[in-house]
Amino acid sequence: MILALKKTPLYDAHKSLGARLVEFAGWEMPVQYSGVIEEHRAVRTSCGLFDVSHMGEIEVSGPGAFDFVQTIMTNDIERIEDGQCQYTLLCYPDGGVVDDTIVYRYNKDRYLFCVNASNSGKVFDWMKKQADADTVVEDVSGNYAQIALQGPKSVEVLRGLLDTDPEDISHFHFHIGLVGDAEALVSRTGYTGEDGFEIYLEPGDAAMVWQALMDAGKKSGILPIGLGARDTLRLEMGYPLYGHELSEKITPLEAGLGKYVRLDDRNFIGEEALKKQAVEGVKKTLVGFQMKDAGIPRADYEIRSGGKKAGWVSSGTSSPSIGKGVGMGFVEPSLKEIGTEIDIMIRDRAARAAVVKLPFYKK
């Protein structure tokens, strides 16, 4: 059986912009328009527009919602107010990761989780299983298209279209209002390391808002950005991508995400296993590294130390900002110190690299 790929409401816009489309998590998505490097630079120096409508959205509501949310997430929803959002992991009892997500707090009884496209079905089923009669869990992915506006010019571009000054939306806060004539949830969040916004709106409004943003950004040199540059931008920041730095077999502590795991006075799924791991120490840990020899590290390449297997590369690329091969990977904790030399096995050749501090890209 061949399942047809899903198309976002911006599919026609991508086609007319000359995008190269690829399959991603069951969706037909733009991987690039004008070129990965040019798009990457536009986001670092000006701004870019991303169609991220493939992301899943799950709404949790009801009188039991607060307790439910606290039970499933490693971060602590009590630390944010209504109108704020928070990055968190969702874990299995053994500490492996179900997904990483941003949770939006409308109020104590209502939340929206933005989950990875590849995981949305799995996360929804898993949440349903944990929910009691006082909590409603709904897959509302079909109700939303999502557009990300990212880059230092984002505020300027959004200013004329939003019904409030975008500068008034603080980092990890959100505003519900109008973009042009379209109702939208607009958060000061992103996956690029730049200032920017993520805009959730009705699928039927997506094409109009996309075009309005492209027009508003014209004098700033806005470009549409594909998944190729989305990946290099997040990689330069050392941000994890599920399936690479996170999985059912990797805990948040191993992935270096301990600050999103609140173990004090909490009671969430996976807490016991993570507490134990926090005390005993991890057996593998995520590091960033930069190539010293020629070559580009890629996911699943072997990492060696002293000629012996010592880990694997989880993500790698040629960094458009620093012009070098960079990657992240899991190694034995003895190799995690900055400056430690490791070998990356590139086509049976050992290429030297050194462990460096994340992020790779600093302003």
């Binding site: 990965v36 490097i37 580009i296 040629s318 091969g325």
Partner: protein, 128 residues
């Protein structure tokens, strides 16, 4: 997209220019366009040998790794080291500055298996 008539082509998207017993090899305009921004190239050593249909090197875009397949068998007489330092030349001038290797042809009969510009163009139309 250009496919010069004086070149021969392969289904693996390499081009070949034959002059006497020396064949110059590179990748086609279609190949560079499909790859996107090329950021890394690995080529064989001068004096080494290449074998028809076997990988002789690698090109990497930001996103992916692709093998280069030799259109012919023979010994490598010259390598274009300039593209190792400036791999973007492969996107900019695939048939000119970004030639990759020159091969002394070991077996003339292999030349007959190469595609003409028309045949290659027809092949990529069908592949799309």
């Amino acid at each position: 997209m250009e496919f010069p008539k004086d070149l021969k082509y392969t289904k693996e998207h390499e081009w070949v220019k034959v002059e006497g017993n020396i064949a110059t090899v590179g990748i086609t305009d279609y190949a560079q366009d499909s790859l996107g921004d090329v950021v890394y190239v690995e080529l064989p050593q001068e004096g080494g040998t290449v074998t028809k249909h076997e990988p002789f090197g690698v090109v990497e875009s930001v996103k992916a790794v692709s093998d280069l397949y030799s259109p012919l068998s023979g010994s490598v007489t010259e390598v274009n080291d300039a593209i190792i330092d400036s791999p973007e030349a492969i996107n900019e001038d695939p048939y000119g500055d970004a030639w990759m290797i020159k091969v002394e042809v070991g077996n003339d009969s292999e030349l007959g298996d190469l595609l003409t510009a028309e045949e290659y163009q027809k092949f990529i139309e069908e592949e799309k």
